[in-house]
Amino acid sequence: MEHLELQNVSFSYRDKQILHDLNLFIKNGEFVTILGPSGSGKSTIFQLIGGLEAPHSGSIILEGNDITGNRGHISYMPQTPSLLPWRTIIQNVVLGQELKAKKDYETAMEMLRKAGLLEYRNAFPHELSGGMKQRVAFLRALLSPQPIICLDEPFSALDELTRQEMQLWLLSIWDQYKKTIIFVTHNIEEALFLSDRILVLSDKPARIKQEVVVPFSRPRNEEMMFSGEFLRYKKMIHDFLKEKVDQK
């Protein structure tokens, strides 16, 4: 059964068409990446799913219910950590949950422990490094009661090494909780390394240009990124993306 589905979604902003007749579906427990160049309307897709904007046509279906234009049905991790500076780490972790349901400090503590952040539970965000803040932001999204997590280029502001570390960490945590994840990025390696399925977005107006099912088994490790197969897939997706640039 499809978990989340976007049906014929179109959206324009100031007479500029950003999404045209976009269709996509995500299965329960799947890790799907939406891959596209900067400014291709990736974040717009999240704003529509999140209900901040309403599509001009088409609808968004979550578990059989039409949620078009309604807020609060997904949990979210933005590009910047966006932790509330006056809350301690543990208070930030429960924030997403607090907005929708009852606070559950026990589970939050357990998550912090598994993520190796337990000793920072009473620290304020400004005392943490960029990578650690992003971990906290992910835990906050993970603890929220909604079944789907949307991650909007969460690692793009981090340096290469921290980014790889974070990707491995993300997979290890995700493995334990198995929530549905929609991940947005412009980084091909990141998409291949993390996801089950990659949706390659065309340039504006955006639609799904190509769907790539990632064949690599889990759990994944860094070695995989140097295998011939990985490079072959990387080249293939690179060509898909480039094709679109050439058409322009």
Binding site: F46, Q47, G50, G51, L52, R71, G72, H73, I74, S75, Y76, P78, Q79, T80, S82, L84, P85, W86, R87, L95, G96, E98, L99, K100, F124, P125, H126, E127, S144, Q146, C150
Partner: protein, 257 residues
């Protein structure tokens, strides 16, 4: 603490120099004391007359406190209402600025005519001078919420009420405290002015009585007490701010605590 003393001695030193210079010039030129008393005379008067001054002082402190609380309440309520109802903000915000152009000295006697000599006209005067900095600073604080935090809260499905109480209000707190500090010093002046209207006790009363009987030394006692009160009040708000706003990375010396 030591650092504070090291920095704090400079203004105190300047003040001391000023007093010494004053003392000397006043003595050398033999200015009559009803025209300009020396600091030592003023200090003597403060000590000797303390029993009568302290009555006035307590009364003023009470008035300041009541007026400040009322001013803060009105200020925050106004900010809250205007921020959440854009239509009211558009129509009332310019009028708020006009409210600050009313000369208090002229308005005060009118208030007495309307409301008598009780507490009410005094509270109105203090509230009028106090609420404005708070309203402005609070509204600025609400408005300047970091856009990425706002975006996150919206995506996470926060309701309008949650947005305000969990994001906008705490975000505006440092800004509100700036307003509180300004209002704290204003409230002291407001209290003294309102006491001129007619009151049994208070520094304002003590000041007018002293001035009309050419007790210049007492006038200066009143002036210094008012200054001390303002400073004390300011320091208290500052202290409260440090206690409440602990999340800011203030320089690098925070780690030492």
């Amino acid at each position: 603490m030591i650092k504070k003393l090291q920095k704090g001695w400079r203004p105190i030193f300047v003040l001391l120099l000023l007093f010494i210079g004053w003392e000397f010039t006043a003595r050398m030129t033999q200015v009559p004391s009803w025209l300009l008393p020396t600091p030592s005379q003023i200090f003597n008067e403060l000590i000797n007359g303390w029993s009568s001054v302290s009555v006035h002082l307590t009364s003023t402190i009470q008035l300041i406190f009541l007026g400040f609380v009322s001013g803060v309440t009105v200020g925050l309520l106004t900010a809250f209402i205007l921020h959440n109802i854009p239509f009211l903000k558009e129509s009332l915000y310019p009028l708020l600025i006009l409210s600050q152009n009313i000369p208090i000295i002229v308005l005060a006697p009118l208030l007495v005519i309307w409301f008598g000599f009780g507490l009410l006209p005094k509270l109105i005067v203090i509230t009028l001078v106090c609420f404005f900095p708070i309203t402005i600073s609070a509204m600025d604080g609400f408005r300047q919420v970091a856009p990425e935090l706002f975006h996150y809260m919206q995506m996470a499905g926060a309701t309008k009420r949650q947005l305000f109480w969990k994001l906008e209000f705490p975000f505006a707190l440092p800004s509100i405290f700036s307003g509180l500090k300004i209002s704290a010093t204003y409230s002291v002046m407001g209290a003294v002015i309102s006491e001129w209207l007619g009151s049994e006790n208070g520094i304002g009363v003590y000041m007018t009585l002293s001035s009309s009987s050419f007790r210049t030394d007492r006038v200066f006692v009143a002036i210094f007490l008012i200054m001390a009160l303002s400073l004390l009040f300011f320091i208290m708000i500052n202290w409260l701010e440090r206690f409440i706003i602990r999340w800011k990375a203030e320089g690098k010396n925070r780690g030492a605590s």
